[in-house]
Symmetry: C2
Subunit: 223 residues, 2 copies
């Protein structure tokens, strides 16, 4: 048990718990890196970088499996309670969300390959997508930072940032459905999906932030 | 502990565990109902039904919270091990996925409202979307059935079904990006997102099936 037993076992338990926290932080870092590179690949129309982002996603999948394994071992062998239990459950929940953030970054990178040799984003939308990308990367960076702390709450902050993402997303949708849109249906459709990947990435980040707050406070913050 | 202690505690533990299974089954049933009604709203262009589906989504959110609460209580008070622990972790993981299936059904229903008074799906794609809907409902029904059993594996089966979903999805995308497409960019874009909701619903169902198999076998099946 976490709150009793001999000091050796307690120490082992706390080592495992901070290991779990590090694994979660590493996952956030990988998701942030994937998003940063995906955005660079989009803005530079860099198909080699795009391919590397897609290939690197397997690493995040493996990190998720390791994180899940650690959480299960902790639950089975240490039977954590209260705050410790909340952290373990948060890890189970968040590892899946962060893995999904990596998938979305890979989808974004893959849009470069699909559009090649044309750029995935036409010049008139480059600014909006750059902005979406910068915010998405910042959100993932913020999570990386927050995961390593035991006291920080970030849901309110990320939830606020998410509103900017929604506004940018709406702006992209307005542009591609405007009668003046000149790039045709296939391009509009690809851009609608592409914008949605950024939006979903931000949603997942908010959802991770929500659970990180829960790990600290014991309460799921209201949206 | 699950495997020791007095018979009264063991009985209480098993009652809670089957309660968790029932809660998960109820969630699958709600997701299946939401999808069934959403598809009906799309095919009949029934905006009242569509609104009811969107409103009913809150019930699935509450069911998720209850399921999470039960899982946490079980972990904190009963410290389950082995197969029992796997079931509890499966519930934590799946409740989130099933809640997301409900969100996607609500998005599908909402497309009826957004397109109103036009139908969300033009006649030439009605067959494909009907087919997508039927498969999605079947997948959710199959999960409802599987959750209540302690021995069934369904990942291989649902993963196979998912291939048909991918084929139908690709067919929709081909139609709306065809030069012969006559309904304009905004309609094509809405249909691209709509098709993606069905595809994601099926993905989540496969992901739930994967974890249900894990609860039974202790191994995550390879895709």
């Amino acid at each position: 048990m976490a709150d009793g037993g001999d000091p050796g076992m307690r120490e082992e338990f706390h080592t495992q718990l901070s290991g779990l926290r590090e694994q979660l932080g590493e996952m956030c870092r990988l998701a942030a890196t994937a998003m940063r590179s995906a955005c660079e690949a989009v803005s530079r129309n860099d198909i080699d970088l795009a391919r590397r982002v897609v290939a690197a996603d397997a690493e995040l999948d493996r990190a998720r499996d390791r994180c899940d394994g650690t959480a299960q071992q902790l639950l089975a062998l240490q039977a954590p309670v209260a705050r410790d239990l909340r952290l373990v459950l948060t890890a189970v929940y968040c590892s899946d969300k962060i893995e999904r953030m990596g998938d979305l970054a890979a989808h974004i990178a893959d849009s470069v390959r699909l559009a090649h040799p044309e750029p995935a984003v036409p010049p008139e939308l480059a600014g909006a997508f750059d902005h979406l990308g910068r915010i998405a990367v910042e959100m993932a960076d913020r999570l990386t930072e927050l995961v390593s702390r035991t006291d920080g709450c970030c849901f309110a902050e990320l939830n606020e940032t998410d509103k900017t993402v929604d506004t940018l997303h709406a702006g992209v949708m307005a542009t591609i459905t405007d009668p003046a849109w000149s790039h045709g249906v296939p391009a509009a459709m690809s851009l609608a999906l592409l914008a949605r990947y950024y939006e979903r990435f931000a949603d997942q980040a908010v959802s991770v932030a929500k659970r990180l707050d829960f790990a600290v406070t014991g309460e799921i913050p209201a949206a």
